[in-house]
């Protein structure tokens, strides 16, 4: 019973925080803040961090961390732009093929991080810190240290605030995020793999004694993280329409913050997909609201920082 109540609180906490932030801006910001179009803008601006945060949720629940996500996103934008330029992007198959290849590369790098972490027993902070530099370097190298212009393709409309056809209401990228969130919620809750991820993060020793293949699951978790970073990278490309090797510098920290605001614990065993998306949404609301009110950027930094610490502090209190 109490466990169930705690589960509810875990999602409720970030949700209440979200409403609180939203209410403040309704009071402060001009009426255009709550216009349908602005709300659509906010949710579109959540997509990249949100999708990245879904992958990060697996990793953080398992007790790990991935610092390479921002670099992977940049690498993916460069890979797509390069592939599209080289092939001429004549057919839709080619365009989606380019996106798929880039996601696969990102997934493979995630797999490598997992493999090194699991086999050599190096802490993931170090492995992914290294991978962050490597992926960034490869992106710059492939891009010849400049932005890569790509031909116009259907990919570019994935993040349009006003989608075509109009009955979609939200950009295709937003629907993708919602769909992926539903899948991750299901996987974490109802599949053996999902439950193992929680066990892995709560008590690795126990997991091992229970006969769970700890190494295998660790590798799987980072591979998934790489895949989600890849999808987030495709969305970043859709947003910029060019390959940008300097894109998303430091974005992994926004993504980790989203997971933490959403109830994820860096010591593992806790976190939820919905919470992470709400965390990402809260940061997008903050940025948008500050722009609309005309609050300087440094106040945004202070606010987001306070919310990260506040969210974790409230979490601590709940556990006492």
């Amino acid at each position: 019973m109490i466990k169930r109540l705690q589960d509810k609180l875990n999602v409720l906490g970030p949700f209440l925080g979200l409403i609180f932030v939203f209410a403040i801006f309704i009071a402060l910001a001009p009426a255009s803040f709550v216009s349908g179009y602005n709300l659509k803008t906010i949710i579109t601006q959540t997509v990249i961090v949100g999708i990245g945060a879904l992958g990060m949720t697996f990793i953080i629940i398992s007790g790990g961390i991935d610092l390479s996500v921002g670099s992977l996103i940049a690498l993916v934008t460069v890979l797509i732009a390069k592939t599209l330029t080289l092939t001429g992007a004549d057919s839709a198959t080619l365009v989606w093929g380019a996106a798929l290849v880039a996601i696969l590369v990102s997934t493979f790098i995630g797999f490598l991080s997992g493999l090194i972490t699991a086999l050599w027993g190096i802490v993931p902070f170090i492995v992914t810190l290294g991978m962050m530099q490597i992926a960034r370097g490869v992106a710059k190298w492939l891009a010849n240290e400049q932005t890569v212009v790509a031909p116009v393709t259907g990919l570019n409309t994935m993040m349009n605030v006003d989608p075509e056809p109009a009955w979609l209401i939200f950009a295709p990228g937003v629907w993708l995020m919602i769909g992926l969130t539903a899948i991750v919620i299901f996987v974490l809750k109802y599949t053996v793999f999902g439950r193992y991820v929680f066990v892995l993060g709560s008590n690795e020793q126990a997991a091992r004694l229970c006969g769970i293949e700890v190494r295998l699951h660790r590798i799987l978790v980072y591979t998934l993280g790489g895949a989600f970073a890849g999808i987030a990278g495709v969305m970043q490309f859709a947003n910029l329409t060019i390959g940008d090797p300097t894109a998303a510098v430091g974005l992994e920290l926004d993504i980790i913050a989203a997971v933490v605001i959403g109830g994820g614990s860096l010591s593992g065993g806790e976190g939820s997909a919905l919470g992470s998306i709400l965390g990402a949404l809260m940061m997008a609301i903050l940025r948008n609201g500050c722009n609309l009110v005309g609050i300087p950027t440094y106040v945004q930094n202070i606010l987001i920082g306070s919310i990260i610490i506040g969210a974790v502090a409230i979490d601590r209190l709940k556990h006492k």
Binding site: P30, S32, S35, Y37, N38, T41, T44, Q45, I48, K140, N144, E145, Q146, T147, V149, M159, N160, V161, D162, Q236, N239, L240, T241, I242, D244, P245, T246, A247, A248, V249, R287, N288, N291, L292, G294, P296, T297, Y298
Partner: protein
């Protein structure tokens, strides 16, 4: 045994001396290596080095905000014993000490692109960023027929060159265009294009009647073009930006960017290396050289004299295919 050691050290010293006397080495240190702009500087420097028969050493920080790393690069070049340094300082104060250290060791330093406090460097070669901002204001006012709502998206806090462009832009509008209403002038985009895009979308939502936008550099210009595209307002809102890349050129061609102010990075690198060499030879060099800017639009982008600036011969001087 002692003889052998003596012999080895003699060879070592001799080789050191040789490597120094054989060819003059000039270090060219950009703010970053990632954007087209710095490639132009590099190519210009390479051309000057080729003409002078000197060796050009090119190294910059990995991130265009990493002052610490740029300081280290300057220090490393000093210890390597280069003959002269051409530097685009990331910060007008933070780079003062390493530059003084170089000058104390009789290594002349030429500052390019962005200003540095102090007086011990040999020469300062840069765009007049304030005047460039004024030019952008004048062009945008012309495009709007002298009236309408306009906003400015500032780049990152603490960037000297973009800050001057922003101030020049605002001052010109205030003094010369009474019918232009500046609706937002205090929002910074942050360092990446994605952030500029988001800031742009948010500001467009707040000011749906805006008629013109000014952006002070490449990241903001491209980010705002994307914001206008996603808002369905490209072409109807006049976007005046800064700097020239392939992506920006496409925007100008389609009319989604009304025009950009373009600097001459190739000439900056070229003059920088030439001036450093002249200073090294003990010649008297001018303390301040201002390189011109041009305004590139869809109409003039194919003119030969414009293309000479926007498409410098990078491949020829940097051996790139």
């Amino acid at each position: 045994m002692q003889r052998i050691i003596l012999f080895i050290s003699a060879v070592f010293i001799l080789s050191l001396a040789c490597s120094h006397s054989s060819q003059v080495e000039i270090a060219l240190i950009p703010k970053g290596t990632d954007i087209m702009y710095w490639k132009g500087v590099h190519a210009g420097g390479a051309k000057a080095a080729h003409e002078l028969g000197v060796k050009l050493l090119w190294q910059g920080p990995q991130k265009e905000s990493d002052r610490e790393q740029q300081i280290n690069i300057v220090q490393n070049f000093i210890s390597r014993g280069v003959d002269a340094i051409v530097l685009a300082p990331l910060d007008e104060f933070a780079l003062m000490r390493p530059v003084s250290a170089a000058v104390k060791r009789n290594i002349p330093v030429v500052i390019v692109d962005s200003g540095l406090q102090g007086h011990d460097f040999a020469s300062y070669i840069a765009t007049d960023n304030y005047a460039a901002g004024e030019l952008a204001a004048q062009k945008l006012t012309d495009l709007l027929g002298g009236a309408g709502d306009v906003f400015l998206v500032r780049f990152n806090e603490g960037s000297n060159s973009t800050g001057l462009r922003e101030e020049g832009f605002l001052a010109w509008i205030r003094d010369n265009a009474p019918a232009i209403r500046l609706v937002s002038t205090d929002q910074y985009s942050g360092a990446t294009m994605e952030l500029a895009l988001q800031t742009g979308q948010n500001l467009l939502n707040k000011f749906p009647n805006v008629k013109g936008i000014f952006c002070p550099n490449e990241a903001t210009t491209f980010g705002l073009m994307r914001a206008l595209q996603t808002a369905g307002k490209a072409k109807s809102v006049k976007l005046v930006g800064f700097d020239y890349t392939d992506a920006v050129a496409n925007g100008i061609r389609t009319g989604e960017i009304a025009g950009v102010v373009v600097q001459d990075p190739f000439r900056m690198g070229y003059e920088g290396v030439k001036t450093a060499y002249a200073a090294l030879q003990g010649e008297i060099v001018p303390l301040l050289v201002k390189t011109d800017v041009i305004f590139v639009t869809a109409e003039n982008m194919n003119d030969p004299d414009i293309r000479a600036v926007t498409e410098p011969e990078i491949a020829r001087w940097l051996d790139e295919k």
